[in-house]
């Protein structure tokens, strides 16, 4: 595609690294920035550059952070005795937004999946074991996804907790709120049925 400008071509090409952005959307974005949003474009450029350069992973929880210890881990108002293990930073954000959880987190940045080349070391499990060994944590909430790999990961991490003498809990899974049994998939229904609770 030729549009008369080499820099424009490069910008369009670079924008395509974003998820969901193909050639057409990349071109629209580039034209929009150049025609109407020069200021915004410059802000984007500088924010992008500093984030890409300075954001790393927290040495305590592995979440994204530009400081060695992230603000969640450094916060004095959070409960140090509860540790919630999640697969990704977006899972952490979801739990922060939906629940009133005030404890700490540990982000695996993946799940045990031999076929994807993800083993205990890639998930930072030695760091997690070390953290459990510090003796501050009383309960570990394992919030990996309810997939086969997420369950296997939960089991593996549960063993680490057991070895450290820490209570491990797992998120419940079942019928979604407002759902109808008729339309719930078999696996979920079997799970929900198996882990039913007493009333009152």
């Amino acid at each position: 595609m030729s549009n008369g400008s080499r820099l424009l071509g490069e910008l369009i090409d670079a924008l395509r690294c974003l998820p969901g952005v193909g050639a057409k959307s990349a071109q629209r974005m580039a034209f929009h920035l150049l025609e109407r949003e020069r200021q915004g474009g410059l802000r984007l450029a500088s924010a992008l550059e500093s984030a890409m350069r300075d954001v790393g992973n927290c040495t305590r929880c592995r979440n994204f952070s530009e400081t060695p210890v992230c603000s969640l881990c450094a916060s004095a108002s959070r409960d140090k005795q509860v540790l919630c293990v999640v697969e990704s930073p977006s899972d952490l954000a979801a739990i922060e937004q939906a629940t009133g959880y005030r404890g700490h987190y540990f982000v695996l940045l993946g799940r045990l999946s031999p076929l994807d080349g993800l083993g205990p070391d890639e998930l930072g499990l030695p760091l997690l074991a070390e953290r459990l060994g510090e003796g501050e944590v009383d309960e570990m909430i394992i919030a990996t996804n309810p997939t086969v790999e997420g369950e296997a990961t939960a089991h593996y991490i549960g063993q680490l907790a057991k070895a450290a003498g820490i209570r491990a809990t797992r998120l419940a899974h079942g019928v979604p709120l407002g759902g109808e049994l008729e339309f719930v998939d078999r696996g979920t229904l079997a799970h929900a049925f198996g882990s039913r609770q007493s009333l009152g």
């Binding site: 998820p19 969901g20 045990l112 999946s113 031999p114 076929l115 994807d116 080349g117 993800l118 083993g119 205990p120 070391d121 997939t147 086969v148 790999e149 369950e151 296997a152 089991h155 593996y156 998939d185 078999r186 696996g187 979920t188 079997a190």
Partner: protein, 230 residues
């Protein structure tokens, strides 16, 4: 080519393009097959992700064109097999083993049957180590790499239960020295051949032997799952 109602187990799924999944399935008539499930990662997908999880027998409708097939429909068949705890980790090992040792579209109905039987055994809580060794033996057999477990490779004499051997992946059981890390008792090899579970020490030697044999057939590589299974 349209394929209807093909029994299958999902071995692995990974994101493909924006909203699709590339699912590796094991089927009786087409062996391992890569199937593209379009749009299943969308929030309001017609077909739910839950139906494409491993360890659940499903029936696939697909369109096979070249190396990959396109998924047209998938529905569960049979009860849900829940592999919990160590069985879940063992299941991931099983899937890695099958993906790494098989080529795509190499029909193998026997392997499919062995795989299904193994999942049932694991779901029923049978001892994992022995269940995995039986599967490895049967799988190697169905791929044409059958183990020679009853006669020694040098003389062709029947194995002595009390004697010590080491198993060479290329030739078979060779006379070995006790104390060698790869040493294995004749009784343990015979037990695997006769499908009789050996004692704990025997299971440990069979596991060492199998890792070596599988490593050989992988071309010297190792399986990631070995680092997870203790």
């Amino acid at each position: 080519m349209r394929i209807e109602q093909q029994p299958a187990f999902v071995l692995h799924a990974r994101p493909y393009r924006e909203t699709s999944l590339l699912v590796e399935c094991l089927t009786p008539d087409y062996g391992r097959i890569g199937v593209v499930a379009r749009g299943v990662r969308k929030e309001r997908a017609r077909l739910q992700r839950a139906q494409l999880e491993p360890f659940q027998r499903i029936q696939l409708d697909m369109l096979l064109k070249g190396e990959l097939a396109t998924l047209r429909g998938a529905e569960p068949s049979g009860a849900v097999m829940r592999l919990t705890g160590d069985a879940g980790l063992a299941g991931l090992y099983l899937n890695e083993l099958v993906v790494r040792l098989t080529g795509r579209q190499d029909p193998n109905a026997a392997l499919f049957a062995f795989y299904e039987r193994t999942l049932r055994r694991m779901a029923a809580g049978e001892p994992l180590a022995w269940t995995l060794r039986r599967f490895e033996r049967d799988m190697l057999d169905s791929l044409g790499y059958a183990l020679q477990l009853d006669v020694d490779a040098v003389q062709g004499e029947p194995l002595e239960p009390k004697a010590t051997y080491f198993y060479d992946p290329e030739s078979g059981a060779m006379p070995g020295r006790a104390g060698d890390p790869q040493a294995i008792r004749g009784a343990d090899l015979l037990a695997l051949a006769a499908d009789q579970a050996p004692d704990t020490a025997g299971l440990a030697s069979l596991r060492r032997m199998m890792r070596q044999v599988i490593g050989f057939h992988l071309g010297g590589g190792e399986l990631r799952a070995w680092r997870v299974l203790r």
